[in-house]
Symmetry: C2
Subunit: 227 residues, 2 copies
């Protein structure tokens, strides 16, 4: 039996309007999260040269129920063949496009301290198709000393770099007391999505998406369930 797959809480609206052929449909935000999980499972299937998969099998791999998987996919179109299942390759490509991942997405990381520089060494982002193209720190030398390979620039260069490189995504790892002011600068410079590791609720314009990863909070949450 598998335990709960706990998704982070959403502090904003729960539905997402996506432009459709005709009008707009409402898609649960959680469905978009699950899309990423499905994508990963599909890639694994493709690696194993499976070319068709049923909702039951894929759902089991992703840790959801078959009906939910079918409903999630149906939000984005009709991909399955009745009696047969879903074509792994087509579905995989479609999800990739839906998630806006056709092209390698440039990302910057701000705050290359302990956690920040570890994230840079962590291979996970690159493996999933993101390229962290630069890091920013008030003390670039210190970050380089922590073994960061990519360019580490001083904070002053933040705005020009974002503009010149059309960066839309940022990973924010600065100490909590600077998080809001740095976030303001990022947004002003054109950043549209922030992966925030600071334990603070960031206030940003509504067209900016903030995803919080609060490590202590996750651990704390577990504390409730152990007895």
């Amino acid at each position: 039996m598998n335990g709960p797959f706990v998704l982070p809480p959403f502090l904003t609206s729960k539905l997402v309007d996506i432009p459709d052929k005709i009008g707009k449909i409402d898609i649960p935000k959680k469905a978009i999260y699950r899309l990423s999980i499905y994508y990963r499972c599909l890639q694994k299937l493709r690696d194993n040269s499976v070319d068709t998969v049923s909702s039951t099998t894929l759902a089991r791999a992703a840790g959801v129920k078959p009906a939910q998987l079918r409903k999630d996919l149906a939000y984005f179109g009709q991909f399955g063949t009745r009696g047969l299942g879903y074509p792994v390759d087509i579905l995989s490509t479609t999800i990739r496009e839906t998630l806006g991942r056709e092209h390698l997405q440039p990302v910057i990381l701000v705050g290359a301290g302990n956690l920040g520089s570890a994230l840079l060494r962590y291979q996970g982002f690159g493996r999933e198709g993101f390229e962290v193209i630069a890091a920013f720190d008030s003390n670039p030398e210190g970050a380089r000393a922590r073994g960061v390979q990519i360019p580490v620039l001083p904070n002053e260069r933040l705005e020009t770099f974002i503009t010149e490189n059309f960066v839309k995504l940022a990973i924010l790892c600065v100490p909590v007391e600077f998080a809001q002011s740095v976030a303001n600068r990022l947004v002003a410079a054109g950043i549209q999505g922030i992966l925030n590791f600071s334990p603070i609720v960031l206030e940003v314009a509504t067209d900016v998406t903030v995803n919080n990863v609060d490590l202590a909070l996750e651990l704390e949450h577990l504390g409730y369930f152990i007895r």
Copy 2:
């Protein structure tokens, strides 16, 4: 290595039964997440010698609506004074107890590679009252070389250590291909909560809680919202 995907039905309910004076009440899981956020805000208020706070003020700090805050707190008892607000100190203590954090909670970390050893250096956990008392790695020397200060033990000692030290929480940072088998060992040894950093849906007994922190997935999710 890539066996068939086997995952039992996703039976996890979205509600949590907590033992009450008389019977049991159902509490939204998300409310428990928010409890941690409230707790943090309360600590900040306490640091600033505020002794009473209204739902409006606290809710704003936590990024939720006042009514939701009141409802969340009401799940656990009546703490407020009508016309006045909530007593910061009492509320803070109560939440702390509710989250099972009266005592310092021992935690182990398994897999002291890049990400794992960074998490160990990261001060966030300790600051929030968790103590990572030991790390485990197939190559303890390597982890020590990465500057890990706490004891790094070989994987063989996992079971005995967990039993002898009554450890209930584990942070799992091993490479994805080992995640499930290590999780099995953790659970068999008595671990009840796993903070899982591997991009995999872990299968565990229903009485074990798994909290997933999937960094690439969070970034991918952001990708959907930028245009």
